[in-house]
Structure formats: structure tokens, C-alpha cells
């Protein structure tokens, strides 16, 4: 194993908001279903109810008329190691240009790469999660081309012996897209370094090079051409993102470019075994965009096939344009690019031991697919399973609640219903909730054994909230308040009614009367 300068994974900072006391405020049942998968999150079910989606899906199927799409994805996962892949520079997205650079990542004469052992560890983790075969001996190679964001004139990558290959991803398609279990093949996983970034001037007269990102470790995951629709591809990407986050090897943020998907799309008449000419699409910033870009590209290619213009489908790279919802040619490929790969002589081979791999295997957390199967076996619906398992934080909360003895179905209902609605209103994440899994499990137990009713559990029991409502009622009724203060104490009933009305009947009567009494007397 090569040596490391500095090692370690940056732990994600948990910004704990000063959340108020958790209390549910809604009686209405869960109005709609949401997941944290971006593809689903960004579609707005309010404006596009399921029936319309279903209709769109059927329309899309009709459009396929005798054709089938073949989709493969190359995913670049940026690793959140403390230092870069081959030097001791840190990397922070968004820092001042060229502030986290050194002679090595700037490609200065005489500098040499030294492998960060943490990169290998992340690669093995992700490769195991992708059910890959790990190469006990792999090596680095140089991929050579000239571009100003590539300081050495070559990228250190892995060519013929990647660290892992022959894996697969299991996932469940969202129920509203028809559901279904899928297994997509993973061709290979390899380690490489990122390039810098070019910043083009507004005038277009010059470009500037920012090398902060140069040398940041990446894992490239190449899928088999197993996907057939935009949603399948988006779900594949979403599952990769989940694995990255579950394992803590990266933040998987697409907007920051920490997770990038390049998609290859071709279409062929159903029944044909050869692939059609493939087109590469880049520049999608969410899984939803991936899904739409692919669906657009599929219909564009089918259209050309039907118009007998299939020869206009050429090997090229197209960019997805979100504003026009179309793909555009970026560059046509003139023959095969020759990267003149050869073994990187500055780095030793990466030799792993089975003890090393076992140690990592034993340290892996339960992964989304295992969670989904476990939840499914609890008798939860697939919609519940996907919601609970696909977000690391939600799954953790759910599992803790179960550990405290809560009933799975009830806990699922509470988490997916009232808690989610509340947290969404408060713009909080579940790990920021003040309701702990223990409290939720106790509440569920109390409801179950009849100590309190489900309705009571939903009462407003926040003195602050009730106090505010009381204040408002008092302020809105100065005449009655004056009369009360003058001795007409029967009016307390009137105020209580007003507050209860304001709370839509949810205020705890005991708490309400206590606070109201104090306020009427004190102020």
C-alpha cells in the first residue's frame, strides 16, 4: 500500500437549528407522499397529480412505438477526504480560487504524487456496497490530453486494472412511477483525480484557471447499459447518491458537482440485439433533470429513426439545457480519442490484503437495499419502505423508534405523516427534531394502551403557542377585556372559546385555561 501524507474523512457538520418543541399541529392525514430523492422531490405532485403522471407515462410508452432505449451511466463521485488524492492540500467547495493548491497539484516541475490511503479505503467501501469484485492488485495509469484545467497534461486514473469491477445495484422504483424491483449492472469502479475549473470572462476574451479542485479524489462508477427509461437512470443515480451518503465517503451534492452523471443513450428497434449509435449527455444538475434529459433524448432519437434520419444520430456529446428542456450538441467526436494510457511510474501498485478488505466489509453500515428488504419484511407497504429506507436520517430515526419498542406500522405512520409535515413546515431535517425516537415510541405506546387518544396526542401542548393565541385574542377583543377587568369574569368562557377557535380546536383545554387565567389576571 502506498503511503499517505494526511488521512481522514471530514465528518459532516451537523448544524442543529434551534428548533422549538416538537408538536404536531395537523389533524389532516398525510396529504401526499414525498421522498428525499431529488427526482421525486422536484416534481410537484400538487400540480401534477398521479393520474396525470400516469397519463404522461402511458403517452411516453406510446411514443416508444416499437423502439427501446439503452442507457448507461458514468458517475463521478467526489470523495470527502480531508486532503486531496495525491498531495496534502485540503479541498473546500467554494473557497477562493487557487487558495487550496500546492506545487504538486499545480503540476510544478519535479513534483510527485503520493497516494492518500483514505482514497483506497473509500473506493473499497463503495465497491463493496456496489457488490463488486475487488482487485487485490490494481495500478494507476496516466490518461493524457491537453487542457488548461489539467495541470500535468495527464490525469492520474486507472485504465486496464480498476480497483473493482463486476458489481450491481438493486433498487425499487418509486410506486408512483409504477414501482418494481430492478438490478442494474456495475461494470467497474476506479480511482482518479479531478481536474481544475475554468472561469470564462464575461467578455469571452480570456479564461481563468482555478486549480482548487485539481487533484481532488474521484471514484468513477461505470454502469452496464442496463437502463431503459429516464426514471430508471435517475433512480440508479439516486441509489448511488444514497450509498455515498450512507457510507460517508462523499456528500453526493449534485449542485456542487460532488456527484456528476454522464449518460449514454441510444435507441434501437425492439428485437435488435446490436446497440444503436450512442449519444453522451452531460450537464444535468439533479436526478429529475437526468430523467427528463434522457426522455427528451430518447424521443429525439426515435423521431429521427421514424423519419428515416437515423444517420443523423451521431456519436457526440450533447448538453442538457434546463431552460429549453432540450439537449444540444456540444462537440462531435472525430474518431476515438487516443489518451495514450500507460502505467503511472510515480506510484506503486495498489496491493490489498483480504484482512484489509474484511475489516472494511465488517465496518459497513446496513445499506439501503438491505434496509428496504428488512422493512418490507415487517409488512410495510413499498411506499413506506422507500420513504423510510432511502434517507439515512429517516431510517436512523425509524430504527431507533423501533428499538424503543414501537410498533413498526404506527411509527411509520407518525414519521411519514405528522412529523414529516411539521418538519417540512419548519424547514427542519428529521435529525433536528426535538421529538426523540424514545418520546415517539412512548407516545405510540400510550396511544396503543389507551392512556391517551391519538387525538390528544395531537393537541397543542406548547405553552408558547397557546400564550401567543391568547395574547392575540385579548388584543383583538379590547372591549370584552375591559369588561372582564371591570368584574365581568364570566367572559373567561368567551375568551377560551375564541382561543379554541383560533387553534381549530386543537389547543389542550387544560393548558389553555391555565394560561388564559394567568393572562387575564396578570396583565
Amino acid at each position: 500500500m502506498a503511503l499517505t501524507l494526511l488521512r481522514g474523512i471530514r465528518t459532516q457538520a451537523l448544524f442543529r437549528a434551534n428548533a422549538g418543541l416538537f408538536c404536531t399541529t395537523r389533524l389532516s392525514p398525510l396529504a401526499r407522499f414525498t421522498t428525499r430523492v431529488e427526482s421525486v422531490q422536484t416534481t410537484n405532485p400538487k400540480t401534477a397529480p398521479k393520474s396525470i403522471q400516469q397519463a404522461a407515462k402511458e403517452a411516453a410508452e406510446q411514443k416508444m412505438q416499437g423502439f427501446e432505449a439503452v442507457i448507461g451511466i458514468e458517475t463521478h463521485v467526489q470523495l470527502s477526504t480531508i486532503t486531496k488524492a495525491f498531495c496534502s492540500c485540503p479541498y473546500d467547495y467554494g473557497s477562493q480560487p487557487n487558495s487550496t493548491v500546492c506545487p504538486t497539484c499545480m503540476g510544478h516541475p519535479g513534483t510527485l504524487p503520493v497516494l492518500n490511503a483514505k482514497v483506497v479505503e473509500c473506493a473499497v467501501k463503495l465497491a463493496l456496497a456496489l457488490n463488486c469484485e475487488i482487485s487485490m492488485t490494481s495500478k494507476f495509469d496516466r490518461k493524457q490530453y491537453f487542457y488548461p484545467d489539467l495541470p500535468k497534461g495527464y490525469q492520474i486514473s486507472q485504465f486496464d486494472i480498476p480497483i473493482a469491477d463486476k458489481g450491481y445495484i438493486d433498487l425499487d422504483l418509486p410506486v408512483e412511477f409504477g414501482g418494481g424491483h430492478r438490478r442494474f449492472g456495475v461494470t467497474r469502479v476506479h480511482m482518479e483525480e479531478d481536474a481544475g475549473k475554468l472561469l470564462h470572462s464575461e467578455s469571452g476574451n480570456y479564461s481563468q484557471v482555478d486549480l482548487n479542485r485539481a487533484g481532488v479524489p474521484l471514484l468513477e462508477i461505470v454502469s452496464e447499459p442496463d437502463m431503459r427509461t429516464g426514471i430508471e437512470a435517475a433512480e440508479y443515480g439516486a441509489e448511488v447518491q444514497r450509498l455515498v451518503r450512507y457510507l460517508g465517503v462523499g456528500n453526493g451534492n449534485m449542485q456542487e458537482g460532488s456527484l456528476r452523471c454522464d449518460v449514454n443513450v441510444s435507441v434501437r428497434p425492439i428485437g435488435q440485439s446490436e446497440f444503436g449509435t450512442k449519444v453522451e449527455i452531460k450537464n444535468m444538475n439533479s436526478f429529475n433533470e437526468i430523467s427528463r434529459a434522457i426522455d427528451y433524448e430518447i424521443s429525439r432519437q426515435i423521431h429521427l429513426h421514424k423519419e428515416s434520419q437515423a444517420d443523423q444520430i451521431v456519436q457526440e456529446t450533447r448538453l442538457w439545457d434546463e431552460s429549453s428542456q432540450k439537449t444540444f450538441t456540444m462537440r462531435k467526436k472525430e474518431g476515438l480519442a487516443d489518451y495514450r494510457y500507460f502505467p503511472e511510474p510515480d506510484l506503486a501498485e495498489v496491493v490489498l490484503t483480504s484482512e484489509y478488505i474484511d475489516e472494511i466489509r465488517n465496518s459497513l453500515p446496513e445499506l439501503p437495499e438491505a434496509k428496504r428488504r428488512r422493512y418490507e419484511n415487517m409488512g410495510l407497504s413499498m411506499q413506506d419502505v422507500i420513504f423510510l429506507a432511502n434517507d439515512d436520517n429517516v431510517a436512523h430515526f425509524f430504527d431507533s423508534t423501533l428499538e424503543h419498542g414501537a410498533d413498526a406500522k404506527l411509527a411509520a405512520n407518525w414519521i411519514m405523516g405528522d412529523m414529516t409535515a411539521y418538519l417540512k413546515d419548519e424547514k427542519l431535517s428529521i435529525h433536528e427534531s426535538k421529538l426523540t425516537p424514545l418520546e415517539l415510541s412512548e407516545m405510540i405506546a400510550s396511544i396503543k394502551n389507551g392512556t391517551i387518544s391519538g387525538k390528544i396526542a395531537k393537541e397543542i401542548a406548547d405553552p408558547g403557542a397557546i400564550g401567543a393565541m391568547v395574547d392575540k385574542v385579548l388584543a383583538d377583543n379590547p372591549k370584552q377585556l375591559k369588561q372582564y377587568r371591570a368584574g365581568k369574569t364570566k367572559l373567561q368562557g368567551y375568551f377560551a372559546g375564541q382561543v379554541m377557535k383560533a387553534s381549530k380546536g386543537k389547543a389542550s383545554p387544560v393548558l389553555l385555561n391555565k394560561i388564559l387565567g394567568e393572562k387575564l389576571k396578570g396583565n
Binding site: L3, P109, L112, V114, G153, Y154, V209, R340, F342
Partner: protein, 542 residues
């Protein structure tokens, strides 16, 4: 199968493997064929480092005195020799005065192993306070942000860097004529080349412009100029010295090496620069001994100090194409080694002649990649242009020299899709064969000997239009780089030429990390070589 490169074909036919059986080496000849006619008294070379150390410790001389002695010699010889691209005389004087102050206040503790030793540094090694050009216009004026590890270790040991020595551009050449800046002359005859690519480092030590110097050896770039200039040159085992800060030519072959006027000085220098470096993951963690500890002075030597030493003389290096004067010098050296008690036998390295073409394919391939960073974008020469490819093309076309461009083209070709297997991969297979054949031979012999070059120093301009002839001159040295072995060159004799003859070096090759043994044998050889001196005649007038 693509047509082979012309160089490939020609180099392959340069030499045929002769399957002659091993036989006892019996040649006996007088030592030097053209004894040196210098005014300097013949005898074993003294260690300059030791004498500097003694004078500093005794207070007999100050570092400033020593520096001034070397600088005045440098100023007188440099106009004709031109070893240096950059002379840092003022900085050297300052460093010396600073050292004197520290000695005055701190005493002996301030005297590091290389205190007050003036060092020349090949200009492809990065120095933080001096320009580092690699001998190329594309890095004209470039000043690195850091010191190469070897340079830093020398400085930490008290050495004073006196300047940056001339070289063939990025180490690609065997004459130092390939420098973009100047032509360095051989101190033994100013019409001749000093060898290359570390020609400036070799000539600087030869002309006593500095005490020792750093070079780099990718295919013989330390050993061949050491032979041409009559100095000691050491190419350590691959990975023995960190490459961090050495501008890469061919990463899997490059080694930082050293020059001295004596084996003792060379050993002292190696002790300082060798060892693992966390900045170079190909550097070895193998223990670094004090290479001086096995060097026994002449008066303590037994009569047969090399008893039990088995030496193999590489048959293939003494045949056709090798200067007869060189052959007789090497044979004389061999019999001298026999007289010292060793057993010398001829040994055949069957893959010997395959090494040269394999070397040029591998070195050029790696060079084509390593030199991609000189693109005019971040540092060095940039030719402005309207379009990106034009900027790259023009910057590199005007910044890089002819030989460098030729090797980049050869290497790019060899790595291209469809040619990779026929060239690069095949050359790697040859490399494995070469390695194996050395391993076999070094099981039977402690040391292998050969010339360091097929001839002594040749005339300036003689081979500039015939690159293949120049490449062929590397036949003695490239195999050692392919196998990653250590090799020491010590001056052993002379051939006719110049006013006082031209020096010839004996190359001694050992197993990986056997530098200690090579230096021990080299030291005994050097100390017992009588009636010769390897101080160039130009110094007699000074």
C-alpha cells in the same frame, strides 16, 4: 504490426549477442595507455570534504576562505569551461559567512557533515532561491517554490550551493550540447564535450569549481560524463535517493546521482542525500548506512584487500564498436583488481544489446508524458495566441529544443493506440529480460565491470547531426537503469587525446542497494592506482 522505428531497427542491429562461453580473464596490460602529463603530483586523490572539515574544526581556515578559493578558481575557469547556467557567488559568500558565525558561536556542533562544502546542482533539480530551467528555454527564468529533497538534505548538512550546472535540455542528450543556454567544454580539452546530460556537474568537479555536485542519471547521464571528465560518478539504486524536485524525464529510470573528485567525497554525499522521502512514494525505505565507514585508508589496507571478491567483466562491452584505448584501459583496470586479490572472469549478459532500443522507447514514452506540463499555461514561456491549441503549439514549439521535440514525438508514437503493444509493452518485456540477466550474473559475481562509454570524450559537434551515433554511445549505461541497479564510475586510465590524454572511467555495477560495497571496491581501486592523477591540465596553470 506497424513498421518499426528506424532507430529501433538500427539499434537492434548495433550489437549481436555472442554466445561465447565464460572464460577466465587473463589479459595483463600496463595501466594507462597515455599517462597524464600534469604538473599535479600523482597519487590517490585526497578527500576534499575531509580536508575542509578538518580546517573548519581546527580553525585553520574559515568557510569564507574556502568559498573564496573555489570561487576564484571558478571565475578563472568558467569563461572557458562554462559549467554553470547560474552562479550564485554572492549567496555562497553569504552562506559561508553565516556558517563561520555559527561555528564561532556554536563550535563543532555547527559543523555538519558537509559544512562549508561547495556544491554544484544540476539545473533540472529545483532550488528555491535560484532559477531552475532544466536547460530549457521553456523554463527560462522559472524559480521553483521549493528545494528538491536532495538539495535540501545537502543544505541541511551544511553544504553551500554555488550554482546551477549546465545539462542537455531536461537531461536528454549525452554531450550537454543540447542545452538551450550554452555549450560546456571538457576541462581536459576545450574542443571536446564533457559528456552528458550532467556535463556541467561533471566538468565543474573536474575543474574544481566546486567540491562535489549533484547530477541525474536516466540512461548514463552521471556515469558517462564522469568518465569523460575524469571524476567519480555514482548512479545509486533506483529509489535510493528521492526524486522529489528532479524535473522528470523518465520517471521509472531517473535517479539523482553525485559527482566527486574522490570516492570518499562521493560516499559522503550519498550518505547525506539517500533515504526514504515521504514526498516520493518510489523512494526506498531500505536502511541508509554511513557509506564512509567501510572506506579504509591506504596505509591500513592489507596486501590483498579484495580477496574473495568475485568480479565479472561484461563480455559484450569489450567488442566491436568500442574504442581500443578504452578496452585496454578497462582490461588494465581488471588486472589491477586481480592484483588486489579479486577473481575476474568474463561474463555474458545475453540481453545486453536489447537494452538500448528498449531504453529509448521507454524513456521517450515517459518523457512525452512528463513534459506535457510544460504547456505555457501556469509558468514558463507562453506564446500568446488567438486559440488554445495554437497557444499550446507555439509555446512548446518555441520553448522546447530539437532533441526534446524528437523524443516527445517518438514517445507519443510509441504510446499511441495500435502501437502500444509493439513498442511500449515489448520494451517493458525486454526490460524484464535485462533485469533477469543482471540478476543471474550478480548471483555469481559481486561486482560487474565495464567501460562507462565506448569512447573517451569526443569533439564538440561531432555527433550533433547523428543522433543515432550519440544514442549508441549509451550502450554501456542504459541497461543498468533498466534494471534499476547502482553503478559507480571511477577514473581508471587514459587514452590519447588533448594535451594530456583523455580520462577513461571504469564502471562497477552491483546488486540493488550494494552502493556500500561498490564504494568500498572503488575506494580501494582508487587508492591503489599508482602514477596517475585525474586533475585536468588546465588547473596546472592556475
Amino acid at each position: 504490426m506497424p513498421p518499426p522505428l528506424q532507430a529501433h531497427r538500427m539499434l537492434l542491429s548495433h550489437r549481436r549477442i555472442s554466445p561465447a562461453p565464460r572464460r577466465r580473464f587473463t589479459a595483463v596490460s600496463s595501466l594507462s595507455s597515455a599517462p597524464a602529463k600534469t604538473a599535479v603530483a600523482p597519487g590517490p586523490p585526497p578527500s576534499s570534504i575531509l580536508s575542509i572539515r578538518d580546517s573548519l574544526l581546527s580553525g585553520e581556515r574559515t568557510a569564507a576562505d574556502i568559498t573564496s578559493e573555489y570561487l576564484s578558481r571558478l571565475r578563472r575557469t568558467e569563461p572557458s569551461v562554462r559549467s554553470f547556467i547560474h552562479v550564485a557567488d554572492a549567496a555562497a559568500e553569504r552562506d559561508a559567512e553565516e556558517l563561520d558565525r555559527r561555528i564561532a558561536s556554536g563550535g563543532k556542533d555547527a559543523v555538519g557533515p558537509l559544512a562549508g562544502v561547495l556544491v554544484g546542482v544540476k539545473d533540472n533539480l529545483c532550488t528555491v532561491d535560484m532559477p531552475s530551467t532544466g536547460g530549457s528555454r521553456i523554463l527560462d527564468g522559472f524559480q521553483p517554490a521549493y528545494d528538491a529533497t536532495a538539495v535540501r538534505r545537502l543544505r541541511d548538512a551544511g553544504a553551500i550551493v554555488v550554482g546551477k550546472t549546465n545539462l542537455d535540455e531536461f537531461g536528454m542528450g549525452s554531450t550537454t550540447e543540447g542545452s538551450a543556454y550554452q555549450v560546456t567544454k571538457n576541462p581536459w580539452d576545450d574542443s571536446r564535450v564533457p559528456g552528458g546530460s550532467s556535463g556541467g556537474s561533471a566538468s565543474a568537479v573536474s575543474a574544481r569549481q566546486c567540491v562535489v555536485s549533484l547530477g541525474s542519471d536516466t540512461g548514463g547521464s552521471v556515469r558517462q560524463p564522469a568518465s569523460f571528465c575524469g571524476v567519480v560518478g555514482l548512479k545509486p539504486t533506483y529509489g535510493r535517493v528521492s526524486r522529489f524536485g528532479l524535473m522528470a524525464y523518465a520517471s521509472s529510470l531517473d535517479v539523482v546521482g553525485c559527482f566527486g573528485s574522490s570516492v570518499f567525497d562521493t560516499a559522503t554525499m550519498l550518505s547525506v542525500i539517500a533515504g526514504h522521502d515521504k514526498m516520493d512514494s518510489t523512494s526506498s525505505s531500505h536502511d541508509v548506512p554511513d557509506y564512509r565507514s567501510d572506506l579504509v585508508s591506504l596505509n591500513l589496507l592489507e596486501s590483498k584487500p579484495l580477496n574473495n571478491l568475485r568480479i565479472g567483466i561484461v563480455q559484450e562491452t569489450l567488442g566491436e564498436g568500442v574504442d581500443t584505448g578504452v578496452i585496454s584501459s578497462i582490461k588494465a583496470a581488471a588486472s589491477h583488481l586481480e592484483q588486489l586479490g579479486s577473481v575476474v572472469e568474463e561474463v555474458s549478459l545475453p540481453s545486453f544489446s536489447l537494452g538500448l532500443p528498449a531504453y529509448y522507447i521507454l524513456a521517450s514514452s515517459e518523457a512525452s508524458s512528463n513534459l506535457s506540463r510544460y504547456d505555457g499555461i501556469r509558468y514558463g514561456k507562453q506564446v500568446s495566441a488567438d486559440e488554445l491549441n495554437e497557444l499550446y503549439g507555439d509555446s512548446r514549439a518555441s520553448g522546447l529544443g530539437h532533441e526534446v521535440k524528437m523524443r516527445i514525438l517518438m514517445g507519443t508514437y510509441a504510446l499511441s493506440a495500435g502501437y502500444y503493444d509493439a513498442y511500449y509493452k515489448r520494451a517493458q518485456q525486454v526490460r524484464t529480460l535485462v533485469k533477469k540477466s543482471f540478476e543471474e550474473a550478480l548471483k555469481r559475481y559481486d561486482v560487474l565491470i565495464s567501460p562507462a562509454a565506448p569512447s573517451a570524450a569526443y569533439k564538440i559537434g561531432e555527433k550533433t547531426n547523428d543522433p543515432l551515433a550519440m544514442y549508441a554511445g549509451d550502450i554501456m549505461t542504459v541497461n543498468v537503469n533498466l534494471a534499476g541497479l547502482p553503478a559507480l564510475v571511477v577514473p581508471c586510465g587514459f587514452v590519447e587525446g588533448g594535451s594530456a590524454g583523455l580520462p577513461v572511467g571504469l564502471q562497477m555495477i552491483g546488486s540493488p542497494f550494494s552502493e556500500g560495497n561498490l564504494l568500498r571496491v572503488g575506494h580501494i581501486f582508487e587508492q591503489t592506482l599508482q602514477d596517475v592523477s585525474f586533475v585536468p591540465p588546465m588547473l596546472a596553470d592556475l
